[in-house]
């Protein structure tokens, strides 16, 4: 292979853009860790949490729910025929959590004290303690769940089979941990009834976060499936291609049910708190945009799409549902937080802050591509084809 062809293969538009983002990200990283959080963000005393928490953490965790949703569907609820979807979902889940933790290093004032809540001075009355503990544990669960792929790649059969025996235990543990921290992320805001707008604050907020995380997980599996079929088709084996054909429709149907359930419990919350009068205020319109455009609409599109086996509808629905989750998490943690504050004092993320978040997403995609190009993720390793899980 001559030098010029190698260069041509590396200089795809995607790689050029990704490379630029990585360089900018590294520069911003340097500034952040030498000049402080204030030098790159618009955070202030009224807004201690910005998009690094509202997007990187809140959305990151919700959208990484595909891991526990898929593995529990396949291993615990007997949807064996979707087995091929487990590994890609576990991988994205793992990378999602990995970068949630990396993003935390940027956001924490003293990231080097990350182990303090567990090792030095535990404060178990804090919802954040629970979130931290569960995220830390679940990260390791995902690591173990993905390990067989790494070991297959390295050819360590014995070790791989040992870990493989843990699959069911790990899956159950993963669901427990996910239930806890997905809901606790919402419960973080229980403490601030005076700051979060009443349409988003609810005593049921923990349930809202948990239920919507399921919809997020299902939608992400569908959306990723679409992306990897498009861009990594050559890495897939026949089993994967065959098994993943059904996924958009089955997962889409499940997602539509979850979204409708989510919609109804949101309405129940509205009734319970008697918040109807807020609906005719600007925040109320915004609430309706979220609920109708990004919950009810994708729910409907999913239902129709799965019944009529219309892949395009399913794709649109998954994008809307994912945007809906992002919108909801940002509404709770940033946009509708401090709702009584005058507009002029509201926080708007700085370009640099957005830059770091984009940098994180880019790193996830690059790592995913790196791993899926090498390890048995989208295909089964020939030596382990007949293994049970």
């Amino acid at each position: 292979m001559s030098d010029s062809t190698t260069q041509n293969r590396l200089l795809t538009p995607f790689n050029v853009v990704a490379g630029a983002i990585v360089i900018i990200g590294l520069i911003l990283t340097f500034i952040r860790f030498t000049k402080g959080i204030g030098s790159v963000t618009n955070l202030n005393n009224n807004y201690p949490w910005g998009i690094w928490i509202g997007f990187d953490l809140m959305c990151g965790v919700a959208l990484a729910a595909g891991g526990y949703v898929t593995s529990s569907a396949v291993y615990l609820f007997g949807m064996r025929k979707f087995h091929a979807a487990v590994r890609p979902a576990i991988l994205t889940g793992f990378l999602g959590y990995l970068f949630v933790i990396i993003a935390l290093f940027y956001d924490l004032g003293r990231p080097y004290r990350l182990p303090y809540p567990f090792a030095v001075s535990p404060g178990p009355t804090s919802m954040l303690f629970e979130v931290g503990l569960c995220v830390a544990l679940y990260f390791h669960v995902l690591l173990l769940e993905f390990f067989p792929a790494v070991l297959e790649w390295l050819g360590l059969a014995k070790f791989r089979n040992m870990i493989h025996k843990l699959t069911i235990g790990l899956t159950i543990f993963g669901v427990v941990l996910s239930t806890l921290h997905q809901s606790s992320l919402g419960a973080l805001f229980l403490i601030a009834p005076s700051k979060l707008h009443p349409l988003w604050y609810s005593q049921y907020i923990a349930v809202y976060f948990f239920v919507s995380s399921i919809a997020a997980g299902l939608s992400m599996v569908i959306f990723e499936g679409f992306l990897s079929h498009r861009y990594m088709h050559d890495k897939m084996d026949d089993v994967h291609l065959e098994e993943t054909k059904e996924i958009p429709y089955s997962f889409g149907k499940a997602a539509s049910l979850v979204l409708f359930a989510y919609f109804s419990i949101k309405i129940i919350g509205l009734i319970a708190d008697n918040n109807w009068h807020y609906l005719t205020t600007p925040y109320g319109y915004w609430f309706l945009v979220e609920m109708l455009g990004f919950v009810a609409l994708p729910g409907m599109l999913y239902a129709v799409g799965s019944r009529e086996r219309n892949y395009t509808l399913i794709k649109i629905a998954s994008v809307l549902a994912i945007l809906g989750i992002v919108l909801n998490r940002l509404n709770v943690s940033v946009i509708c937080f401090n709702w009584k504050l005058p507009l002029a004092q509201k926080y708007i993320p700085s370009l640099n802050e957005v830059g770091i978040s984009v940098f994180m997403i880019t790193c996830i995609i690059l790592t995913y591509r790196f791993i899926a190009n090498r390890m048995p993720v989208l295909y089964e390793h020939p030596d382990y084809k007949d293994s049970e899980h």
Binding site: P111, M127, I172, S183, S184, L190
Partner: protein, 348 residues
């Protein structure tokens, strides 16, 4: 397959139901009444003249950064200010129905502080002096305390890259420990601030309201707000008018999260059992399916075998009869032939 999916969804529905119920059942009867002899400060806004002496005293005592404008410059009162890293306390001016009023803002040293209950390293503690103290040696800098504080008090050193700290009023605990008054209280020229045992301060406040009902709102701010605070306020105007929220309620912050925290052991206790059961059921269903499949295969094989046997028999029979026929015809032919030759021989 569709059954298990429906179950899957139904299961989540049931789970959320369980969470809802426990969320409702959270109001516990427990109430923390605070340390018996704990102190506080009574701020009578009717007496405050907005001279900013307290701000200046606080700045000096805590060795805070130089302010943008000197403390003698009263034009800063035109804007509404909040606490900052360099100002643990600020005085604001308000035009109210009862005329111009000034009110001092700082940490209220809550009896059950939100900042303390949300800190995952217990950096904040309610001290027996009444002060809510901060320990920078364990703080991780997550800033959840700032999110939680209902009075928007704590601030953060965003520009410090290595050892940023949360900043807020200390109630001058070092001075209290040394038997002195908080610096701002000592500095106040109008007795708009009184330091003392919280219980006694409540009595004084109530007496003032009784004595001058025309001068004060019948409300001691901080007596009940968010479970009660060590800092107490009197005001001639509605507290909302001097920017103190009256919609906070009397529920303390631990009560707000109590329900959600109580669900944790339930999830940890019930989920694994439930999921294992689910798995066992799935496995059993799969085993049954597998057994059925095997059975079907067996039957099919047997039937096929039987049919095959039958066919074979038939074929054999046919073949036999064909063979017989062939032999018959061969014999016949041979006989005929023999007869023929006999005939010819006879002819010859």
């Amino acid at each position: 397959m569709s059954i298990s999916r429906r179950k899957f969804i139904g299961w989540f529905g049931a789970a959320s139901g369980a969470l809802l119920v426990s969320g409702k059942a959270r109001a516990s009867g427990k109430e923390f009444k605070g340390f018996p002899k704990s102190n506080g400060v009574l701020h009578d806004t009717a007496l405050c003249v907005g001279c900013r002496t307290c701000e200046s005293a606080c700045n000096k005592e805590n060795k805070l950064g130089k302010p943008d404008k000197p403390f003698t410059d009263l034009t800063v009162l035109k804007e509404k200010r909040r606490t900052t890293n360099d100002a643990y306390t600020v005085v604001n001016k308000f035009e109210t129905k009862k005329g111009v009023l000034f009110a001092k803002k700082q940490c209220n040293h809550c009896l059950e502080p939100a900042c303390a209950s949300v800190c995952f390293v217990k950096a904040f503690k309610k001290d027996k002096t009444g002060a809510v103290t901060y320990d920078a040696d364990v703080c991780v800098g997550c800033r959840y305390c700032m999110v939680a504080c209902p009075f928007d008090v704590p601030t953060y050193e965003y520009d410090d890259p290595f050892t940023p700290e949360v900043k807020k009023c200390t109630l001058c605990k070092p001075r209290i420990d040394a038997g002195k008054l908080p610096a701002c209280v000592e500095g106040c020229p109008k007795d708009a601030l009184i330091f003392g045992e919280r219980k006694k301060l409540l009595k004084i406040a109530r007496k003032r309201i009784e004595k001058h009902p025309e001068r004060y709102e019948d409300h001691i701010y901080g007596e009940k707000e968010m479970g009660g605070t060590s800092w107490l306020y009197l005001s001639p105007a509605k507290f909302e008018e001097i920017d103190m929220r009256e919609d906070l309620g009397s529920k303390s912050t631990p009560e707000l999260t109590h329900g959600a925290l109580a669900v944790v052991p339930m999830v940890v206790g019930l989920w694994p059992a439930f999921l294992t059961g689910m798995y066992a059921m799935t496995k059993r269903r799969q085993k049954i399916a597998l057994d059925e499949k095997n059975e079907a295969v067996k039957v099919a094989t047997e039937t096929t075998k039987a049919t095959a046997d039958e066919a074979l028999k038939e074929a054999l029979k046919k073949a036999e009869s064909a063979k017989e026929k062939a032999i018959d015809s061969a014999v016949k032919k041979a006989l005929e032939e023999a007869k023929k030759s006999e005939d010819t021989e006879e002819e010859e």
